[in-house]
Amino acid sequence: MSYLTLENVKKVYNKNVTAVESFNLEIEDGEFIAFLGPSGCGKTTTLRMIAGLESVTEGDIKLEGKSIVNLEPRERGVSMIFQSYAVWPHMSVYDNVAYALKLKKLNKKEIDKIVQEVAKTADITQYLDRYPSQLSGGQRQRVAVARAIAVKPKLFLMDEPLSNLDAKLRVAMRTDLKRIHQEVASTSIFVTHDQAEALSLADRIVVMNHGVIEQIGSPREIYHDSETMFIAKFIGSPPSNFFHVEVKEKDKDIWLVHSEFELKFNGTEKETLLNQYVGKKIVLSVRPENIKIADEGIIETKALIIEPQGSHNIINTNIAGEEVKIVSDQFHLKEGDLIHIQFNENVLLFDMDTEKRIR
């Protein structure tokens, strides 16, 4: 049995605004899960329902086999890191961390022991006497982390904890969070709209859009095996390129025909295409790094804009009016150069109407 189960969870605001719908998820003990999606997709709402800060309209949430939907937040044994850190400004760092322990009526010695221990883990030992206003954003974040792990929670919830930090600190803190997760081995749920955070932190990612789950999978699956066009568009920087192609059958071979190119298709989806899609239009999705610039290719185009990224360049070109981005290590190319491109076999096919993968 799974550690945390969400069954058909639904949230409706003001009787008519549906924020989350048919949310089903099973989480194993010790897993690090990320909820990823654009703002307003319901990921924070789901997290708040798990925390008990938001009521559940329909469905059930079970922790260790027991339903927790009717429990107060304090009875659920979860801890949370908030987007604004929510480190109480009128208490010293020590009191912030000790707050939950004092409410549990632990004696002073035990509290002190735990506070010192988690302060060490979160690296805030030298700030224990200070007040939050004397700390930087990153330090406050660490206080929030220390406070959250001090209670030894069953569930560790994080609501966009890194979004208020500057870019460099965000990356450093990301690594720290992963290290702390490994040290305390607690089951964690991490809400973010930043795919880099989700991809680098999570064991599994739950991609959400418009209140429903688009896909649940490992970072690798989400990226290379996207279930929907939304994910192919949302994940990856730069995201996938899309080509509207027509499926044609020639001598038992499948050809994907575009106004600029024709591609012979040999992937595993060939059967499905033959049976259902001949003569229809579908969407071909190619990741920017799966487009190769070579001496010979199926398309000839011009490099319009080149964005150097250090380790690679992003080459912007235009194919039949559509913007196409290519990740390339051919640094000698200049803007305006003619290039020939090919696709490797890692292409995904989507149905035009349902926007779902063709398998």
Partner: protein, 342 residues
């Protein structure tokens, strides 16, 4: 260079403004410690004196002592003539705040007679004489002080409890007519209290609250409820909801959360608005003149006592008595207002 000039100008302005406050205050303090004789000095003393320098001569012709006093300009001026020591003693007490035993006075004065020349004497003033006199001469000064404190405390209590609740409701709930309430409560603040007092007098008489501190406090609270609501509303809105949510997640009940998180965070707003409430009650004379009869407040009593020209030094010490609690209250709250935010 430009900076130096700018900074110098800034300091000049600061010094000028501080002087505008400090110089009158220092004269007030000086007067509150002055004896009746010193009141008429010109130039006036800026700092209070501790003793009087006197000179005594024996006038053979009229057979009385002539008492002279060195004034603030450094000249001796004649004050009083008498041969009777009890009368001299009484004069010293009332006009110079000097308390000397009759026998000691005689011992000092007789020297002038024996030597046949002017002798100089220095007598210590009873330093707090005016303050003691303020409470003894003006009947009911003590009672007035107690009344003032009562009125202030009740005003603070009423404005904080009602205004605070209104502020919370305006910030955190979606009640109908929210904007109307918040504007309305501020419009009430714009009314001069004196104009509210006249109809209020009728109401207070009707409910038996005329000439009582509760009645006064109700009138003082009228503008302050709105002000408190406006101030606390802003602070309640400024308290991040996540502070409260964090507390609930980390094991606190709603009540514990309010007590340990929300209330300490909004305390500065209450401190600031209670200062306004205090000052309204403490400084008022006009409303208490209209709405009290025997139960005067201290401010009103002092206001009335200024009328008597011979008692200006007592009124001044009364004014100091009025200032001290206000200062103490301000300093007490200052810590809350500045420290709470770290």
């Amino acid at each position: 260079m430009k900076n130096t000039i700018r900074r110098t100008l800034l300091y000049l302005v600061i010094v000028f403004i501080s002087m505008m406050v400090l110089i009158p205050l220092s004269y007030l303090v000086s007067i509150s410690f002055s004896s009746a004789a010193e009141i008429n000095d010109y130039p006036k003393q800026m700092f209070p004196s501790f003793s009087h320098e006197l000179a005594v001569t024996w006038d053979e012709e009229n057979s009385y002592y002539i008492l002279e006093r060195k004034n603030n300009a450094g000249k001796y001026e004649e004050l009083y003539m008498s041969s009777k020591f009890d009368r001299i003693q009484a004069y010293l007490e009332t006009q110079l705040n000097v308390y000397v035993e009759e026998e000691d006075l005689e011992k000092d004065f007789v020297q002038a007679k024996e030597l046949g020349q002017k002798i100089e004497l220095t007598y210590r003033k009873s330093f707090f004489n005016n303050f003691i006199k303020f409470f003894t001469v003006f009947g009911g000064a003590e009672k007035a002080l107690v009344n003032s404190i009562k009125a202030a405390v009740i005003t603070i209590f009423i404005s904080m409890s009602i205004g605070g609740l209104v502020g919370y409701a305006l910030a955190r709930t979606s009640i109908i007519g929210k904007e109307a309430i918040s504007i309305g409560s501020l419009i009430v603040r714009m009314f001069p209290m004196v104009s509210i007092s006249v109809p209020m007098a009728i109401l207070l008489v009707k409910y038996g609250l005329y000439d009582s501190m509760l009645g006064l406090a109700i009138v003082y609270s009228i503008p302050n409820i709105g002000l408190t609501a406006a101030i606390t509303r802003g602070i309640f809105m400024g308290v991040n909801k996540e502070f409260e949510e964090a507390s609930m997640v980390f094991g606190a009940t709603k009540l514990q959360t309010f007590r340990k998180i929300t209330f300490p965070l909004v305390l500065p707003a209450f401190a600031a608005s209670s200062m306004y409430a205090f000052i309204t009650a403490w400084n008022d004379t006009a409303v208490s003149l209209l709405l009290t009869n025997k139960n005067e407040t201290l401010a009103l009593l002092i206001y009335k006592s200024i009328g008597g020209s011979s008692s200006i030094h007592y009124a001044a010490s009364g004014a100091i008595v009025l200032i001290i609690p206000a200062l103490a209250f301000t300093f007490l709250l200052k810590n809350y207002i500045t420290q709470l935010w770290g």
